[in-house]
Symmetry: C2
Subunit: 226 residues, 2 copies
């Protein structure tokens, strides 16, 4: 990480820049994105942006970290829910029709209802932009480390929920880490199929199959019956 701590953006500027980065990624993708695009979108000067984030790479790493923080906040909001509710909610949040971390970012925190078409297009454009960043990961340590961290934390949180369910007897006894990995990678594969090949049904179909084979199976043999 080359971010200079003495140059860290104040929280409100950071939030503004992160939201602008989201919008700029949706509008231009990753390859064509410039610091100037983001500065324009954030309505700040390009020199201010460079002062706080130095390079496009540093800014993108900060943005990937920001996405993870948003996930963590949303995840904490579900602490009162039981394991089954939490798991189903996490799966639902990776689907285009539903509220997602990303579309929240796009809304700048407001939950105004967009029409489905716009939200779906945003899901596809943003998903493609993130895949573009990921395709640079083999060549760029900073992206690879941050993306691995993001995947690892998301998977660990899901595994914790599964372990909770096993401990309380709501779920049957399974390998929580392995089960979490299946959930994350299957939804990731489906999203990639949708945003690269235009197969719009992929995320919903995979979520339905995960429900049938994984989520229902956890509960069916679990302690609380069903």
């Amino acid at each position: 990480m080359t971010e200079r701590t003495d140059a860290s953006a104040p929280p409100d500027v950071h939030e503004t820049v992160m939201e602008a980065t989201y919008r700029a990624l949706c509008a231009r993708g990753f390859a064509r994105l410039t610091m100037q695009n983001i500065a324009d979108e954030a309505d700040v000067s390009s020199s201010l942006l460079h002062y706080h984030y130095d390079t496009k790479r540093d800014l993108l790493v900060a943005f990937l970290r920001y996405l993870l923080e948003r996930f963590e906040e949303k995840f904490e909001d579900t602490e009162d829910e039981d394991p089954e509710e939490r798991l189903r909610g996490l799966v639902a949040r990776m689907l285009p029709e539903d509220e997602s971390v990303e579309s929240d970012v796009g809304d700048g925190g407001t939950d105004a209802a967009d029409d489905g078409g716009t939200e779906d297009a945003e899901y596809d454009r943003f998903g493609l932009a993130i895949l573009e960043v990921r395709m640079q990961a083999p060549y760029e340590d900073a992206y690879r480390e941050q993306l691995r961290t993001n995947m690892g934390v998301i998977r660990a949180r899901i595994a914790d929920v599964i372990r909770d369910g096993v401990e309380t007897g709501a779920f049957r006894d399974v390998d929580a880490d392995r089960t979490a990995r299946l959930l994350v990678d299957a939804l990731d594969g489906a999203r990639s199929e949708r945003v690269t090949l235009g197969d719009d049904d992929a995320p919903g179909e995979v979520a339905a199959a995960l429900d049938e084979f994984v989520l229902s199976s956890l509960v069916a043999d679990g302690g609380d019956g069903r």
Copy 2:
């Protein structure tokens, strides 16, 4: 498809060029690949290559079609197996440690045992190259159509195996298409996680989870017991 039928390469030339394309993709990736690289690798003249395949795009589409044909041949070889064996074999073929369609192509048809490290590196390099082609699919109709065809046929073959199992009573009654999609997308997501983020465990862990939650579940409640 802009391939000119009157310029189709004779079968032996086609096979040589396809194998050369595989090796060139492993060596250089997709973005840096040129027709000249492939001509050099195939030991044919660049003008011969252009005569038969016209552009790099046409050659890549032919290569994607060739991968599908190889899958179909391998799939037909398993016709005598029962549905459970066939399904397990299909999953195993998407894993790095195992013999795969791609490494067969790389071997030029011989099954000489490489050391695992080399085969793994080849799996990663080829997987990344194919992802690079796929990242062009949103902008290039020819890639998108061929990749959708490949995904669709692979999924349909797997669904047929599941339907066979349900009909003969070996499997419990499930939505074959949806189950096939989960298998394909989960393994695809895991492969992508491995080749972009270097998470070497992803394909094996996902395969183990699919075994536990999907394959075993199909058989456990199936007609022939287990």
